[in-house]
């Protein structure tokens, strides 16, 4: 799967999804989600991180990251994939 792609669409989740099935923290902070088109592969639904909500645009270049998003009943951190804007200086520096 290509690790980079472009935002196909997006929105901000501004209310806490119902539990179940959601397992994120009780104290809710809005989060960004979207679809990212991975060239030649698939358009994948994902959380979007590392960007101001107001800066998200269709076509923006993104890459995969792993983020913690919840803590399970045993106190372990639960992680998920997400996409964040490409950090050019990190990638090419």
């Amino acid at each position: 799967m290509p690790p980079r792609g472009r935002v196909w669409s997006w929105t901000i989740q501004r209310f806490r999804p119902k539990t179940p099935p959601y397992i994120g923290p009780e104290a809710f902070e809005p989060f960004a989600i979207g679809y990212v088109e991975l060239p030649g592969a698939v358009i994948v639904e994902t959380r979007i991180v590392g960007v101001d909500f107001a800066s998200i645009r269709i076509g923006m270049e993104m890459e995969t990251v792993i983020i913690p998003f919840a803590t399970d009943a045993s106190g372990r951190t639960v992680v998920t994939y997400a996409f964040a804007p490409v950090q050019d200086e990190v990638q090419h520096g």
């Binding site: 901000i12 999804p17 099935p21 679809y35 639904e45 959380r47 909500f53």
Partner: protein
């Protein structure tokens, strides 16, 4: 297939009714529809009906009488009501029966629907991480549509403003007070670009239709509103639907395009022949996108349509004349039949303050829902 007529309609007001179950609201609607048709429960030869969250519709016999009639339960998501109507229509069009009932009702808890991944054959992580929320889908389909076709937030506001203005005149609507466009646009954001006044809410309500053969309709003096088409379609490859963790790179059609084309062909009419339309408005952008998907305008032309007021009651194509889902709320099993109810009222000229002028002759309904299903009906006077 023989012609089929809608000879009676009944509705239990949408919204919140403490103390009445969904089924009881369905029974209320059934009694009203039978009174409207001038028939009794004993006269009803068969039924199709359903709810999404309020149990089996065939238990309606506990409320209305143990006549032994065949009654088939329908559970087809947002197309439940439309599917019940198709069942009743086919039963009569085939010549097997002369008169039957199509019933839909529901009663949902407050707040957004909390769908579970397993019910949609999806892995648990999809719900755990917070992606299994219906409102997100509507927002993202719309966000992309607005960017590609130049639709503005003001147009979203205009759709909601129209819905509440129309509902003032609809006894069965839930939210019946006008809301000005600035309040709509500046309200709490739910899923960008949609504010709280741009989303419908899960609700309660019931609707019943009595359908009859031409012979029976003439006996009852009610051979006025004819079912010209009723079609349901599931999704084609490459469509964009609720609860889709991934989409094909190759983009395709939409279930609405299929259902709409099938209904126009069945009825032998085109979009230009439609005098009034009830379109799925889960949120205000859905009404805008569905104007194009159902063939009423080109993608992007909605900006002009809404600015000019062409979908208002006195416009060239009035849309959602009772306020639609935005003002009536969404009891899933009943919504599709509410649209048909509203069209029968309009075709009879009984719309009162929301009556479409000029004696509308041909009326269109459209539902859309998870997991990619659409239903369209066309009625003619």
């Amino acid at each position: 297939m023989a012609d089929v007529f809608i000879v009676g309609v009944g509705i239990h007001p949408f919204g919140r009714t403490d103390g009445l179950s969904g089924l009881q609201q369905g029974a209320y609607a059934a009694r009203a529809a039978m009174a409207d048709a001038g028939v009794a429960w004993n006269d009803i030869q068969f039924g199709f009906g359903g709810s999404d969250a309020s149990g089996s519709a065939d238990t309606i016999v506990n409320e209305l009488g143990l006549t032994g009639l065949p009654f088939i339960n329908v559970k087809n998501g947002c197309a439940t009501g439309g599917s019940a109507m198709i069942g009743a229509w086919q039963g009569i069009a085939s010549g097997q029966y002369d008169i039957g009932i199509a019933l839909g009702f529901d009663k949902h808890p407050r707040g957004a629907f909390n769908a579970m991944p397993a019910d949609y054959s999806l892995p648990d992580w999809y719900g755990s991480v917070g992606l299994m929320v219906t409102t997100q889908f509507f927002a993202m389909k719309l966000q992309r549509y607005m960017a590609h076709h130049g639709i503005t937030s003001r147009s979203l506001g205009r759709v909601s403003e129209k819905a509440f203005n129309n509902a003032v005149h609809a006894d069965h609507a839930w939210r019946r007070a006008p809301v000005d466009i600035d309040t709509i646009l500046n309200a709490q954001m739910i899923n960008d670009p949609l504010t709280k006044y741009m989303f419908c809410s899960p609700a309660e309500g019931g609707v019943a239709l009595i359908l009859a053969s031409e012979k029976k309709a003439r006996e009852l003096g009610r051979a006025d509103v004819r079912v010209k088409a009723a079609a349901i379609r599931t999704r084609p490859p490459g469509s964009f639907e609720v609860f889709a963790p991934g989409l094909d790179i190759d983009r395709g059609g939409a279930p609405t395009l299929l259902a709409s084309a099938a209904a126009y062909e069945m009825a032998g009419v085109g979009p230009e022949d439609i005098d009034v339309a009830q379109l799925q408005d889960t949120e205000s952008g859905a009404e805008i996108m569905h104007m194009a998907e159902n063939g009423f305008c080109a993608d992007g032309a909605q900006e002009e349509w809404l600015a000019e007021g062409w979908t208002q009651i006195d416009g060239k194509l009035p849309v959602n004349t009772d306020g639609g889902c935005l003002a009536c709320g969404e009891p899933i099993g009943a919504s599709g039949l509410r649209q048909v109810y509203e069209n029968v009222i309009q075709l009879r000229g009984h719309g009162g303050g929301r009556q479409v002028p000029g004696n509308p002759k041909t009326a269109y309904t459209h539902v859309y829902g998870a997991p990619g299903i659409s239903g369209v009906t066309i009625l003619q006077r």
